[in-house]
Amino acid sequence: MKHLKLFLTIALLLFALTSVGAQDVTTVVWWTESGDEVDDFLIPLLADAFNAEHDDVQLEIIGQESLNDVNRTALQAGAAPDIIQTPGAAFIAEFVDAGQILPMTSLADQYGWKDKLLPWAYNSGVLGGELYSIPITYESMVLFYNKTLFADMGWEPPTSQAEIDAIAAESIANDIFPFTYGNASWQPSNEHLMGIYLNNYAGVENVYLALTGQKSWTDTEFVEATDLLATQLQDGWFSGDLSNYYANTGDDIRYELASGEAAMMQSGTWNFGSIGQFFEEQGTEWDWAPLPSFHEQAGEYNYELATGSTISVNANTENPDAVGKVIDYWLSDPARVLAIAAGAGFGEYVVPIHFTVDDFPAGTDERVARFFADFAAVTGAGRAGYTTWTFWPADANVQLWTDIERVWSGELSTEDYLADHEALWEQARDEGKTLPIPAR
């Protein structure tokens, strides 16, 4: 009996102690898209580091397959994590409409996020004057090329449409595709090209005017830009034939470029993470150059602004302050951000904060560092374009990359396609579903 009393007393004390401890620690849960970079870099360099430095808040990062589908179900069930990650800014407007995420403006003011984030990236998360999301990666579109092939052919990266035409003519004469691309892995890849042609042919100023309703998408510049891409695709500039474009996966296009079957690829900087292995296998070398302007009216070359995944605070979280602490920990250390991004090959988790050259980890690929330096200089000078998945409302965006195939097949005229596009923009404006456009 005496032993029993002693045992119960100890058990009670232990319970009380652990209960007190548990009450003091707040756990912030964040689901992100699963991948090796999450296990190997994001969790050790962010979650483990944060947890080691904090006793009151602990961060739990969980990788999920098909994150968007999982989040959708969890949000409807009221069981989503504290930090909501979305695939892109277009989703935020829907979440805000549904009242499922909290504004972060007060947290941003408290921690000075407006100064930590690049201005355009901060503004991309502002809706109705409130900050609702923060991009956790950013990217742009560039011209990848097979450096070995270019050296063999005596080519230089093109800086104008005339130079592109010359390389294309010589490529075709030598049974080389001028460009490679495809959308078998991801049908919205169509918008990568459409965005490039709108920005680099019509020019970023005209795109800005159309985005802000001061110009119509049916105007001549946009018609010509759309026609230029359609003509090149129909003429087999991209992987030899439009049908090959539709059948090419992501691996196919990187192989075509690395093997020298194609000379160039207009694509996103997310390829930094994966393109190298294809070139290693082929024993060739890759490089990139800014995408040139396709028309005089577009002025000097630009970089399109693009945010990838975003994070927001779940409206149902019990710990918004703890979430703020976690986010600020990440945004406050450029070296940590770049170490995680380097782990993902600079294809993911490149949080748009201010970097200096010293922040890049030792051994960073010179080509990657060159991109970030030039991107900062060029966009800082105002030559910033607009990617469709960051600045277009959902309906207009989907129409842009689905119906363009009907233009390419000849089923729909460019004029009708752009008229439908303009109508969807007007509808989005009427319904208040447009996304923030950074002022020029």
Partner: protein, 312 residues
């Protein structure tokens, strides 16, 4: 006894059949106790989502937050949507393909296998394997086999056989839907073989002996003995194909996603794009209602035939 019946008739009570016994309440409750888990599961997984899905079709809803009732507006829009009609017509083409080619292949395969006594099981397993493999795996295998650069086509082209398979079959508007259907048939027809073979093995062998004595050829035995005997199984598979053709999604989504230019779009992929890319769950619900009507018509037709005395 006569008095009891007269009283029952006079009061309008149900006539009690002589062999009908009243089941004790405890036993009835006991039966329901065993039934409720599956009923609850059906209620949660099928009935409630179905009713909710029907309701969503009459709303404007992004998939998040509160839906707004808009009456028949989604159906009005559906009637003017060229892409929807393209999808619907592709579903009809798909159905026509699956109601003929795999059925013919399944019957032929089963009939030929039925004549094999040794090693039949090996063939059954071989034919059935594609059916149990995940659609993603099957699709990926055929994506490689039919690849315009590394598949069978370029290999044949090296042998001098060109312009047949050395093109991007999944990327051409003229061939995309049929190529996806081919892959799906490859995975599906073995299932039909096994089903028909099981039905054929149940046919009375004496019927074949009589037919042979009457001088019937193998084809005549198949036509006049086998086919009528397995008719319920054939009708059942036709019904299932009708239903599955309305809801086809996986192979189309994996291999073409409806490309190019909606040439291989079916209602399932269009519904997915509408709900999850355009955030237009209400309109997607209307497409879902059309798919449900298709299935209801198929099942209704089946029930109608049974009531008309068809042995199906």
């Amino acid at each position: 006894m006569a008095t009891v019946q007269a009283t029952a008739q006079a009061t309008g009570a149900r006539k009690v059949k002589p062999n009908e016994q009243k089941i004790p309440l405890a036993r009835v409750l006991g039966r329901w106790a065993f039934m409720w888990p599956i009923l609850a599961l059906n209620l949660i997984v099928i009935v409630i989502p179905s009713i909710a899905g029907l309701g969503i079709a009459f709303t404007e809803w992004s998939g998040y937050g509160q839906p707004e009732f808009i009456g028949l507006a989604n159906f009005d829009r559906l009637m003017q949507d060229a892409v929807f009609f393209k999808s619907l017509s592709n579903n009809i083409v798909w159905t026509a393909i699956f109601l003929t080619i795999p059925i013919f292949m399944g019957l032929l395969g089963a009939y030929l296998l039925a004549g094999i006594k040794r090693g039949q099981m090996i063939f059954r397993v071989l034919y059935f394997i594609p059916f149990v493999l995940a659609s993603v795996v099957n699709a990926q295998v055929w994506r490689f086999l039919l690849h315009h650069r590394v598949g069978i086509g370029p290999w044949l082209a090296d042998l001098g056989i060109t312009d047949i398979l050395d093109v991007a079959l999944f990327g051409k508007a003229e061939t995309a839907l049929y190529t996806v259907a081919f892959v799906d048939i490859w995975h599906f027809w073995g299932f039909l073989v096994v089903i028909y073979l099981a039905a054929m093995s149940a046919v009375d062998v004496e019927l074949y002996e009589v037919a042979r004595l009457d001088g019937a050829s193998r084809f005549q035995q198949f036509r006049y003995v086998t086919l009528p005997s397995i008719r319920p199984t054939i009708v059942f598979t036709l019904l299932m194909i009708l239903i599955w053709s309305a809801t086809v999604f996986d192979y189309v989504y994996i291999l073409t996603s409806g490309k190019p230019a909606h040439a291989s779009e079916v209602m399932g992929t269009y519904l997915y794009e509408t709900a999850f890319f355009r955030f237009d769950a209400g309109y997607a619900g209307a497409i879902g209602v059309v798919m449900t009507l298709w299935v209801a018509l198929a099942v209704g037709g089946f029930v109608f035939l049974r009531r008309r005395g068809w042995d199906v």
